[in-house]
Symmetry: D2
């Protein structure tokens, strides 16, 4: 179990770009990074396009006033001058800025934690991967749901063969918050539905990449052979981006996948749901009730496993925080993601490649995989929703 004791020698000096007062996303980053004060300490920020509002906000978070910056370029420039300058920066800004900010941070020797979808293209990912490698820096990606202990229970059960051969992957991340048109929508919807600021997808990137990465964590042996994506904007102004998409996948082992993302699933509060079906058994998990995992062995009573219980696999218990009977929230999951990235940064700083080789966290490869999946989805969708070989 995790209990806040330090996992690295000292907390990393951490800053934020974006994530200010007007949105919800910043608090998820802060609550994750600062969960225990033993992995990160918040030392600086450029929280807001509105510089004054951003500074007022940073003061309210107890950040030193002289390390609250008007923009990310100033942050990088000033912090780079300090002996106690920031070591890692989180980027919680609209998609179209991810690449430039990441690149600037890395060039200044600062590790990066970035929101998904990482960038617009795999080509951009490759540029960043090379730069990070050259600089000896880490790029983490906030696939925030994969920190839940029961996600790692699922991975361990698959690994130990409890499901048999994987046959079916069924995934869904839907909500209905964009069922109406965008006349009264806020800023976040404006940039998310514009290809110039959102990139080549809306819901596929915004929520679909969470599904894809989680499936990679649980099913690391599976790769996609071919894929078909059928997407649509039920609100026409969102076209060519989509507010609904279905993706079918054929995997290398013969398994079949289907995935649904939507922000026009009116009234739906069920959010994410995953079902992994094997020749012997299935497992099912939803972030709506993240503390329970359904385990269904064919021909036996269905089982419900609860987080924190001794019967779970070691991998799940190792990352539990609250203990059985006590609900783990999304903040607990994010805190794990941030901790794992901190451990990666610490190892990189120490030059401990052995640790890094066996350490699992959502890094540049995971971010690139997400972008690659999106590229394949778009290629299929734009080709009459036809099957395409996964490239």
């Amino acid at each position: 179990m995790l209990n806040g004791e330090k996992c690295i020698e000292r907390p990393l000096r951490w800053g934020m770009i974006g994530g200010g007062r007007t949105g919800q996303v910043g608090y998820k980053h802060r609550t994750a990074a600062l969960r225990d004060n033993t992995a990160y300490q918040l030392v600086c920020g450029a929280f807001d396009l509105d510089a004054e509002r951003g500074k007022a906000f940073g003061k309210n978070l107890s950040v030193d006033e002289d390390r609250l910056y008007a923009d990310y370029l100033t942050l990088i420039a000033e912090e780079s001058q300090r002996a106690d300058g920031v070591e890692v920066v989180s980027i919680a800004t609209p998609n179209f800025t991810h690449f430039d900010i990441t690149k600037a941070c890395l060039e200044a020797g600062i590790h990066v934690i970035c929101e998904k979808p990482l960038f617009f293209t795999v080509a951009e990912c490759d540029v960043i991967a090379k730069l990070a490698s050259d600089k000896g820096l880490i790029v983490g990606v906030t696939y925030g749901f994969t920190g839940h202990p029961l996600v790692h229970q699922m991975a361990a059960m698959v690994k130990r063969g409890l499901l048999g051969d994987i046959r079916i992957v069924d995934m869904q991340y839907t909500h209905g918050f964009n069922s109406d048109d965008d006349r009264h929508a806020g800023e976040a919807m404006k940039w998310r539905t514009n290809p110039a600021t959102a990139g080549p997808t809306f819901v596929l990137g915004d929520i679909g990449t969470h599904l894809y990465y989680l499936s990679e964590v649980v099913l690391p042996e599976l790769t996609i052979d071919k894929l078909l994506c059928d997407r649509k904007a039920f609100i026409p102004s969102r076209a060519p981006l989509e507010d609904h998409a279905t993706v079918l996948m054929h995997y290398n082992n013969g398994a079949r996948g289907r995935l649904w993302v939507s922000s026009v699933n009116a009234g739906n509060m069920g959010s994410q749901r995953y079902r992994f079906v094997g020749s012997k058994a299935s497992i099912e998990w939803s972030d709506t009730h993240p503390d329970q995992l359904i385990y269904e062995v064919q021909g036996q009573p269905n089982q419900i496993l609860h987080h924190g219980m001794p019967y779970l696999e070691d991998e799940a218990l190792a990352v539990d925080r609250m203990g059985a009977l006590h609900t783990e929230g999304l903040g607990d999951s994010w805190a794990n993601i941030y901790l794992w990235i901190a451990q990666a940064i610490d190892a990189k700083q120490r030059g401990d490649e052995g640790f890094l080789n066996s350490h699992h966290y959502p890094g540049i490869e995971a971010g690139t995989d997400g972008v690659r999946w999106l590229e394949n989805c778009v290629r299929s969708a734009d080709n009459g929703s036809a099957w395409v070989n996964f490239e």
Copy 2:
């Protein structure tokens, strides 16, 4: 509410072909037909390929011994001679026999109630439709789940516009009972996985047609423009038939559909699930807990509606049998289907075409629609799981 009082002048004289002791399906027919003794009375049967076993079985059902027949041809021949001969026969036999038996019954002037999938081809359906029309006879199809009151609640809610424009149709009928290979499988699996006896599909016809018909009941305005079916036999011996399939559908109004059928969804006891999403709200129903309907209006608390409650639409209350708080089982649903078919037969006998024009029951059109949908699915699947225009 239905309470067993007669809805037609006198019960129809009814017989069964198939549905004997060794399978479960026959009891669903009998419990449905005989629910109230005011719609049907069981007068004869050819229950079993094993004639002696069939006769012993019929005696145990209190059928007169001299009206227990060795086979369907004898049944038709003998009953046709009687002044009090059978008026309607139910067919609960393997798929490949449906056409011949139906045709023989109709030619002898006997109404038919047949299991799904009705026949192998639309061409066969058309032959039967013409024959039934010429003879003035009814062909009913046992889409047994659509008798649930809440199915008709859904149809009424859609009709009254509570969902707004229909956008997404999501349907699933899966179980895991065929997760293992068929070495130890019984007779039923043998004919179901052989194209010669099952027809062009396994799970698509066996369970998928239930999904499709229910969607027709709830969404009568929607038609399919094009469709894509991706099917697979995870147990290779079942090929070319499938034990798993996904179907994507584009509807005439721009709605998108996705449908999943499987008999290798290991451990799954959830069975059928339907979600109909509109621009304002969604409804969701599962036959696992058929007494409740989920109604989700975007931006409002989710609602759970219960069968038998006064707030339901008249269409739902009219076909309720048990009353609120008291579970309606699958038998109650089947009983409604059988009742509606009895009313159709009675109207046909009386020549009351006015009644028939406004009376809803799963008849030859519904059966044909199911077969047509299967033909389109197979055409797509056999064409590399490509999109095909619905014909």
Copy 3:
């Protein structure tokens, strides 16, 4: 599995007193008795205090017109004259009439199936028990929920020691249909809230006796040592009867019980819920989702058992009707109760006391136990809700 084949040599000639068109209860009796046409056939009735309405109703049920009677005395008198007279009569009338009708039937040599609560006092029960014994007749009681296969699964699991020592019995049967006062209430509420017509209790007798009998079925070894009942009429006009009560029980083995009945649990559609806790494991069942049984072994994943599955105990599978995946409704449960009573009557007619000794059905003892439990509850409640020794 039960499939409608005859379990007794020929169907019993059966009639109904009460249960007419204006209420829901009669249909539950008819749908149960007539489920398969191999246990009962409906031959006569005095369905309604309004004789004409009752006869019209009976005609609509296909009963011969000359066996539709104006009242129960006439029914008994006329049927007793017939060679093919009624053999067993069901009583679905207000509580205060149960005793007189039962007595008259038995005196005329007719078996009885009666609604709960059976009579007003244990003394009355004893009179009837002696009369039935003297006459060689059966008195069955319609504890309709105890026919569910999973109730018998629970009993079998307890019997086989899977729970260990029984420690806690937690039972609840509540709804909110009487949350408002009775200004607009129907006839049924009028007699149910008047001690002269309902007897000494309202909800305790009306729904609480179901809980108590089911606990007897599952836990036949347990008896109550002492008991405390706290009851209240939240709608004052219902006093001295209660619309809410809590009962605490101390059992002979040291177990503790708590039971809640209410008809003012506003909005509650959950109905019945049972939890039986042992030293090793607990089981939980609700008639809201009667097809699943929760089985919780301490320290292991929780399990959900489904009706009709091969892993169940033989006792559960023997009384299954619909098969796994197919919902059993309340009608299926009632059908089992009626079948078991029919088997008792048949054995009695055949003089087969050996069969009767090992045959389980809700008979006069079960009915008496319920009335005795009510007497103890009222004695406690009327004594300041104090503990009373169970007598």
Copy 4:
């Protein structure tokens, strides 16, 4: 919404007594206090009876080594000497030490946050209340579940009359972790089942006080007139303390309450469940799925409300942290409790009695109420589980 921005001028200097590495409880305190770094900063601790282990633990939490103390007396003595000495201390030690430690802290001018049950007797509570009042200090109590936004939604709905008159209070906090005897139990069970260290109750104090306090938050107008407690130790070595208890309550407005606590509810993972029934509607909440609130208006479809949604009452939205669709865990709830106590301490420090008069947090009165309720429970239980007037 809460997003980590400061709610008081500067974070309080905070220390912990107890809550070390060998138990789970300390992390709940730390994760709550340190959630945002704007309410508390951890400056010192005496975490463990094993002084060395406690110091090693504190170092791993990044506490300055010279402020890690061997015991609470040293902590108080040393910190009192410092200009930057600790301002508030949390006590997460066995029950029997709460009083002495609290008293010592208050006498040294240090605010206190203490685990429940607060002390052994109301007399002790009164001593502390007077001392705190004299010293101008706050005593907070960690009723950690009452920080959930939907708890405050319930209180707001009751306040606005949405339930009508409150009639029934039904509460349950049970688990099965102590189903076996204590031969292999750990330290925590040893002191919890010994009256010398646990006080007059086991599960009533350990978990029952959570139920009682939450009901006070939701139903501030209700007080108990009389009460009956029936308790038992199913594992005899735990006597005279209880591992199971039922409490019945009569409230001042005529409402009826029932409450169940148990640690021998084998296999139960459902934990806490609350149902508040009014004349119009009921609400139901469980900490197992804390993000949803069931709202059942009699005669209408049941509703499920989700945290973070705009349709909620302001009181609920004001204390939301994660936003709709994102699970709030127990840590989020605890963080709110700690924040509210910090605001109380800050106001006390500023002499802002106006703020304090309208500020709600679990303080000495709430702690005293819990102990008073326990005293009444024990008085009833020890008097043959008889009704006692609430004193």
